[in-house]
């Protein structure tokens, strides 16, 4: 017999039993990720500025879902409010934040970004209609969040059908007057997270590359230099979503394309100009161009004096017909005039309008609104080319929630590249006032739209908030490699970020959404199972032993008690 023969191989059996037992134990204590829905969520930024705490100060979520923000008697301190950004009531939210009403958490559903894989099937028209509205809401929301101190976790995620279905469910039960609680069941949002930690010694990384000009035998002096500069990092309400396609991905893409075009000209000694070209990708843009300041400080005096002028590219990806040249010296200044005329000549030929805006620098004010102001402060002639007509406020227009790929119009970037490159070439080769198109289409020096587009796409996928970009980040290496493909003496400059800022990590996480049953349901379930078993028992006793037996069973206990007593 099977179980008797097993006795002989007792050791083997024992061993296998042991292994089975271990397996059972392992299975018993393993918690599987069994949530019906797991979504990628992006936390609101958490930072300290000059010692004051800002942003969302917590990361841990373990509460039931609710859908209504409206201030009522209901205690929302144990509820995570899920809300679509597109119909968010900002005054209400503002009231909640300023009155410090406790919430369990906030999960905001952003509209799908166009071009992302999940929205491909949807029509473009539909989203364009809502574009302006969404843009305004997102900008306002971002402003509100960045300057607020919020003690509970705030997360962003993108809408999808599953989340919307859950939201509709939650809304329905809220309307029915059953706000989420342990007794009514609902959806539970769980995101285990440790306390967010301060990012230790956040760095800003500037990258520079040179295209050296051709030194004639006659000039012993250093060649004059023209600098092209773009700040590449971003800042926004959700660090993991701050891709900044327009601010300032467009500027970086344009800079790389200009570097590529001039590297072709400079590779041949016949077409090598008598100017050095300096390309700078600076970091720390949102923080008063802190990186640019440190970069300029690292130059020696001779180099700084040799810079003829600098062109800073900032947000040049979504203009229609008008670009602005921002300067901090009066436009009558001879150097400024020269640069501006060079640009406006080309602009006229291209049929685009450029205007000039003068904004004086107030040395006592720490706010640096434009990148060229850092150059002006060290007395280098500089302009910023931008589609923005007015200087952005601190921490704004630096690549926030709305600034995604669909905001950027590639042709605007091409036009900007053409404008800058053409005017630069005329200056370098001394062709001012002559109508010669150097980077004409279909020539070997034409703008490569695919190159620009692929860089725009890459940047629109890469969040670039400086404290979260390490030196080893693939994006930094990609920028470095790209610049070293076109220019020489590529150099990375690591600087620590201005001490008044500190940032906290946990910028992205996975949120599990469970549909949970209520305690009431489980009690009812137990009751149903219990009565089922009881009825089954009675039925079986009655059919197999007779009804009398059944009655006896229920009579016996008291009689037995009586006997023992």
């Amino acid at each position: 017999m099977a179980w008797r023969t097993r006795g002989r191989g007792g050791d083997v059996v024992l061993e296998s039993v042991c292994s089975v037992l271990t397996l059972v134990l392992v299975v018993a204590f393993v918690e599987l990720g069994d949530a019906a829905t797991a979504v990628d969520v992006y936390r609101l930024i958490q930072y300290d500025f000059a010692g004051a705490p800002f942003g969302s100060r917590a990361a841990d979520l373990n509460h039931l879902a609710g859908s209504s923000l409206s201030v009522s008697e209901a205690d929302l301190s144990r509820t995570v409010i899920i809300h679509q950004v597109r119909d968010l009531n900002l005054t209400l939210l503002n009231g909640i934040i300023t009155s410090k009403q406790p919430l369990g958490g906030l999960l905001l559903l952003l509209p799908q970004r166009i071009g992302s894989s999940e929205s491909e099937g949807k029509t473009r028209n539909d989203s364009i209609n809502n574009d302006e509205l969404t843009r305004n809401i997102l900008t306002e929301l971002e402003k509100l969040f960045i300057h607020a101190h919020i003690p509970y976790p705030v997360y962003f995620t993108f809408e999808n059908d599953k989340l919307l279905a859950i939201l509709a469910d939650v809304k329905r039960s809220d309307v029915n007057g059953q706000p989420a609680s342990a007794t009514s069941g609902g959806y539970k949002l769980v995101l285990p997270s440790r306390e967010p930690k301060k990012v230790s010694s956040p760095t800003i990384i500037n990258i520079q590359g040179w295209l050296p000009g051709l030194k004639g035998d006659s000039d012993a002096n250093q060649l004059p230099t023209i600098a092209i500069v773009a700040s590449y990092d971003t800042f926004g309400a959700a660090p993991a979503l701050s891709v900044g396609s327009d601010s300032n991905g467009s500027g970086v893409a344009a800079l790389l394309e200009i570097a590529r075009l001039f590297s072709r000209l400079y590779s041949n000694s016949k077409t090598r100009g008598r100017y050095n070209l300096l390309f700078g990708l600076t970091s720390g843009g949102p923080y008063n161009y802190n990186g640019t300041l440190k970069w300029l400080k690292s130059f020696d005096q001779r180099l700084r004096e040799s810079i003829d002028y600098a062109i800073c590219l900032n947000s040049i990806g979504s203009w229609k017909n008008e670009l602005w040249v921002h300067v901090s010296k009066p436009p009558e200044n001879v150097y400024i005039k020269q640069v501006f005329e060079g640009l406006s000549d080309v602009a006229r030929e291209m049929g685009v309008k450029i205007g000039i805006k003068h904004k004086k620098i107030n040395i006592s004010n720490p706010r640096v609104a434009w990148e060229h102001e850092q150059f002006s402060r060290v007395r280098v002639t500089a302009i910023t080319l931008s589609e923005l007509s007015a200087a952005p406020e601190f921490l704004e227009s630096s690549g926030g929630l709305y600034d995604s790929r669909n905001l950027v119009d590639e042709t605007a970037v091409y036009k900007s590249v053409k404008l800058v490159a053409e005017s630069l070439a005329r200056h370098v080769y001394g062709l001012q006032g002559r109508n010669i198109e150097i980077f004409s289409e279909n020539s070997s020096l034409s703008i490569n739209p695919f190159y620009v587009k692929s860089w725009l796409d890459l940047m629109s996928r890469t969040p670039r908030v400086a404290p979260f970009l390490q030196k080893t980040d693939p994006f930094i290496s990609a920028l470095e490699k790209e610049l070293s493909d076109h220019t020489v003496d590529v150099h990375l400059q690591l600087e620590s970020i201005d001490g008044t800022f500190s940032f906290y990590d946990s910028t992205r996480a996975t949120l599990h959404i469970y549909q949970v049953a209520s305690v009431t349901f489980d009690l009812l379930y137990l009751l149903a199972v219990g009565s089922y078993l009881f009825l089954l028992f009675c039925f079986l006793v009655a059919t197999t032993r007779g009804v009398d037996d059944l009655i006896n069973i229920f009579r016996r206990p008291p009689s037995r008690k009586a006997k023992t007593a």
Binding site: D34, Y514, Q515, V519, L526, V529, T544, R545
Partner: protein, 228 residues
């Protein structure tokens, strides 16, 4: 709370076996030993079945219904019949009648089946935060399986162990055994090919098991009559 849900589901899945044992005369005759031995035989039979399945069945990536595969699966199911026959003949417990013996074997068989196929999923799934109806359905399925296994044991005991049964009933008995053995395949057909909702599938299982139990009971009774 989730532990609570797990306990509820476990009671639903395994409770009926205990109730059946304690409510029927099985407990009076102390047939627990027979049931346990039947469970051991079940384990060995299942092992043999799994080896056969692994040998003869293709692993299909799609969740579709494949008639050929299901036929093989159903025919491998006849190993069950052999197992039950073995349990009925070899596990002689002298002092119990034929009727109680098949019940004890069927009970042990069904209980081992439930534990083997449902305990681990229940433990892993029903303790989670996420609520689904699935585990409640599994508990109900366990009930249907208990009924089916009891009927199968009854028919097997009729088929080979009872000599003086009416000739006319033999084909019906065989047909019923075939239906019972191919029950898993029928359920999988209903689930996959017809695409029924889980609730409907469980309802079908419960009703069909009760129906089969009724037929088996009638057959058993009619075979009993001439001998008494």
């Amino acid at each position: 709370m989730t532990m609570f849900h797990f306990i509820n589901c476990a009671i639903l899945a395994f409770g009926p076996h205990a109730v059946y044992y304690s409510a029927t005369p099985l407990s009076e005759h102390e047939t627990l030993g027979t049931s346990i031995k039947a469970a051991v035989v079940y384990l060995l039979t299942t092992l043999a079945k799994l080896i056969c399945l692994a040998t003869f069945l293709k692993v299909s990536d799609t969740d579709s219904f494949d008639l050929y595969q299901e036929l093989i699966k159903a025919s491998i199911g006849f190993i069950d019949v052999v197992g039950i026959y073995f349990a009925l003949t070899q596990l002689t417990h002298r002092n119990i009648s034929q009727a109680h013996k098949f019940q004890a074997v069927g009970l042990g068989w069904a209980f081992a089946d439930s534990v083997l196929y449902r305990l681990a999923p229940l433990w892993i799934g029903a303790r989670g935060l996420e609520f689904t109806w699935e585990y409640i359905f599994q508990g109900l399925e366990a009930n249907a399986n208990l009924v089916l296994n009891l009927s199968l044991a009854a028919l097997v005991s009729l088929m080979w162990l009872r000599k003086n049964k009416p000739k006319s009933l033999i084909p019906i008995i065989y047909a019923c055994v075939i239906v019972l053995v191919s029950m898993p395949s029928i359920v999988s057909y209903v689930r996959k090919a017809l695409g029924w909702q889980p609730l409907k599938v469980v309802g079908f299982e419960l009703i069909s098991s009760l129906f089969m139990a009724f037929i088996s009971w009638q057959l058993f009774e009619s075979c009993q009559r001439p001998s008494t």
